[in-house]
Amino acid sequence: MNKIEFTINGKKVTSQVEGRTLLVDLIRDELKLTGTHVGCDTSQCGCCTIHLDGKAVKSCAMLAAQADGADILTIEGMAKGDTLHPIQQAFTECHGLQCGFCTPGMIMTAAGILKENPDPTEADIVKGLEGNLCRCTGYINIIKSVQRAAVLMKA
């Protein structure tokens, strides 16, 4: 077992993990932050995207032990109380989701895109979301949502 300490959504957490425990499993099963989803078993769908030290990564493609000392942000850390994060707001306004399963990952990746590039073109958004799969929307409204989020975040 490995003792790890990290910060998640501003809260310090200490845990004992097996070597093989995935970060996403620790987040969901132990910390009960079930907004981070697992949509595949092959690290392809992006539903489990979180921010690790400010960068969008797939929490199913890293071990919990690798997160020791890290600063983690999950979808639960995006809204401020009852006020949605501008990206969440944009997804609701633009119907950027249907079933909603991929949405936490889409929003966390979108946050990563907008952090690097506050004014992305449609092509930048498509490229940025390459690692996130949606089986409902056909992506059009997701792209619109990210474009809208860019506007809201500048306001």
């Binding site: 093989r20 797939k58 493609a61 890293m62």
Partner: protein
Amino acid sequence: MYAFEYQRANSVAEAASMLAANPEAKLLAGGQTYIPTLKARLAQPSHVVDIGRIKELTGIEVKAGVVSIGAMTLHAEVAESAEIKKAIPALAALAIEIGDLQVRNRGTLGGSVANNDPAADYPAAVLALNATIVTNKREIAADAFFDGMFATTLAEGEIIVRINFPVPKRAAYSKFHHPASGYAMAGAFVADTASGVRVAITGAGASGVFRWKDAEAALTRNFSDAALSGIAVNEADCIADLHAGADYRAHLAGVMAKRAVKKITG
């Protein structure tokens, strides 16, 4: 995932001794291939030695016509590095084509090169730019490094520390992405270097990345995409799988090589 013991190494020497202590221990770099491999139970290490935080494996340095990149440098760091964009823009441009945004934020140069996936991008750059792989034991020339699909000449317990890329006169990479996975169906890295024109093809070869010597000879005579008309990659040497036949990949490799040359000549 099968159970294993996780160990974090703080130096290359410590990682080497952790590997030496257990014959079934394996290194973990960014884990963007290895963790999915473990999840699929395709590997069963006794120990996983995490080298992702070793300081001496990081850093980008450009001096005396060589870009030296630490093995644990992330794809995103290579893609964004102002120094690399200036010295070898084709290498930064290649890095932004790897995987997806999340993979580029975790995956490393050393991990990709050591894994030598036949459809990975970096092996083409390493081979075409005539790079040198610096390990904890020796220096290995690119031509003596790649040893068939998922195989290299790294010895047991040998760890890539840095990769040194000589700055070419001019270079470009062109890749045809598999539409679902993003891996190269075929990719061509063309470099006009101090040691001549070098063309490396990834994604297509049944033995992994390879130099396309006929193209090198043709481009040496006449550095233009037209020089590649009439010559072809041997389809008997190409991968055939559910995504594409060998004839398709051989043709695609030629198209990618022409596009890379065109990027250079304009």
